[in-house]
Symmetry: C2
Subunit: 239 residues, 2 copies
DNA sequence: TAGGCTATGTGCGCTACCGAACATCCAATC
DNA sequence: GATTGGATGTTCGGTAGCGCACATAGCCTA
């Protein structure tokens, strides 16, 4: 089974006890996750949960007028589709691939039965869910109080944490959609960061040159979320 | 046991299977919840979960500079302290009584053991948690896109749904703290609503005269959250 | 190598909200 | 019934972000 080590790049999968892993691994299907793919749509019952490996997924809400706002972001540390094990089957939000890559998925019925079957799985998924809740809560706070510039830094850092390198493949237009702001606002923010030497970009590619600099410019929200993820999800738990 | 019928004003408690209810009821402690009481503080491990009966509790995040923003609101339909059964034991937010009243509470160890013991309890609490997640997500969206006036209407409606009558005991200053805006902004918004005949108020008391009118003025966020609560928490499930 | 499409840069007037300062006024207490 | 402290009303300049319009410029394709 050549897939296995690859799949365990996902931290939740990596934290599974061996017994669960052995049961799950033949059921996991590795999938490509191209930019823009919609994993689930508002109000629609999910067919799978997705464990990102190298991709990043945005959870966002699309308003009646078409405007949108990101609620949270999920990468290799997490799972997309919590409403399956939380019991609601669907949510009012949408999940879109924000950064292309790979992932793997498990059919809905499997995750639901596995969730109740093992205390370890249940606790792992619920602790992840609590971390996700913190991210959502902090997004609400940040949207209320912080400047676009600060939010842009936060967003770059959250994305960076979920990527291997320091380059994001991402247009400013897309970032604007995620943040729920104007594209021009992102352009201005990005220009400031580039002039300050923190990032460098060309059409659809952003390289982060000075991560520390971004951390200095962002608001406390980033650190709050990071700390909570670190606290709740000790990476690479004994397995 | 004279408490029992009273306590089941909380919808989660009301939805408990009889077997659980009989085990829980002697352990539930009815408590007064005065305005401003802090049920839990950021980062501190909780000792109890609280089931509001006639009170309303705000979950909010307080920033380093003292500014705050409400993340969600909990009334008789829910429970305060989800991090106990989610496994994190604490959260970065704070829970404050926003509208005085009564509630009852259960020690932390009890809820943790009960959570794993019965599938019914687990599913009930997790579905509630999913509804709460939707509320948080929509708060983030609303903070991003909607006007103070719309948010004020949403806030009044969310509070109204968790009260018996149509009068809120609440100063504009407090509302401003919850929404994370200036007090003056709330004053202006409230004035508009009063002039339109939708509400009427005096020093710390707000009467809602025209609920439908508020619904017409608010954004879609209120309805999204309401629909999701109705969907996930069929009130007074067979018990 | 010449288009043409898409991404980015820039300017403009506009509005909602902020921060601060201050006026008013109700209601509980003495 | 006078006092007073907290709640509400009002104004004003400042600013971040919006919507719109349009300019520039990099990359892909023909």
């Amino acid at each position: 089974m050549p897939l296995s080590p690859e799949l365990r790049k996902n931290q939740l999968l990596a934290s599974l006890p061996d017994s669960e892993w052995e049961r799950w691994s033949p059921l996991l299907e590795q999938v490509d996750m191209p930019l823009g793919e919609v994993l689930y749509e508002s109000g629609v019952t999910l067919n799978h949960v997705y464990f990102p490996l190298t991709s990043i997924v945005s959870l966002l809400y699309v308003m009646e007028n078409g405007a949108s706002a990101e609620i949270a972001v999920v990468g290799y540390e997490g799972v997309v589709g919590i409403s399956l094990f939380m019991g609601g089957e669907s949510t009012p939000s949408r999940a879109v691939v924000q950064s292309a890559g790979t992932g793997c998925r498990l059919p809905a019925e499997i995750i639901k039965s596995e969730f109740g079957r093992s205390g370890a799985v249940l606790h792992l998924l619920l602790r992840y869910t609590q971390a996700l809740i913190t991210q959502m809560a902090q997004t609400a706070v940040c949207n209320r109080h912080h400047s676009l510039d600060q939010q842009l830094c936060r967003w770059l850092l959250l994305s960076l944490d979920r990527l291997q390198g320091s380059e994001l493949v991402m247009t400013q237009e897309l970032i604007a959609n995620m943040l729920g702001v104007r594209r021009e606002g992102v352009t201005e923010g990005a220009l400031k960061l580039q002039k300050a030497g923190l990032i460098q970009y060309t059409r659809g590619h952003i390289s982060v040159l000075d991560r520390k600099g971004l951390e200095d410019r962002t608001c406390e929200c980033y650190a709050v979320v990071k700390r909570e993820y670190d606290r709740l999800l000790p990476s690479r738990k004994a397995n």
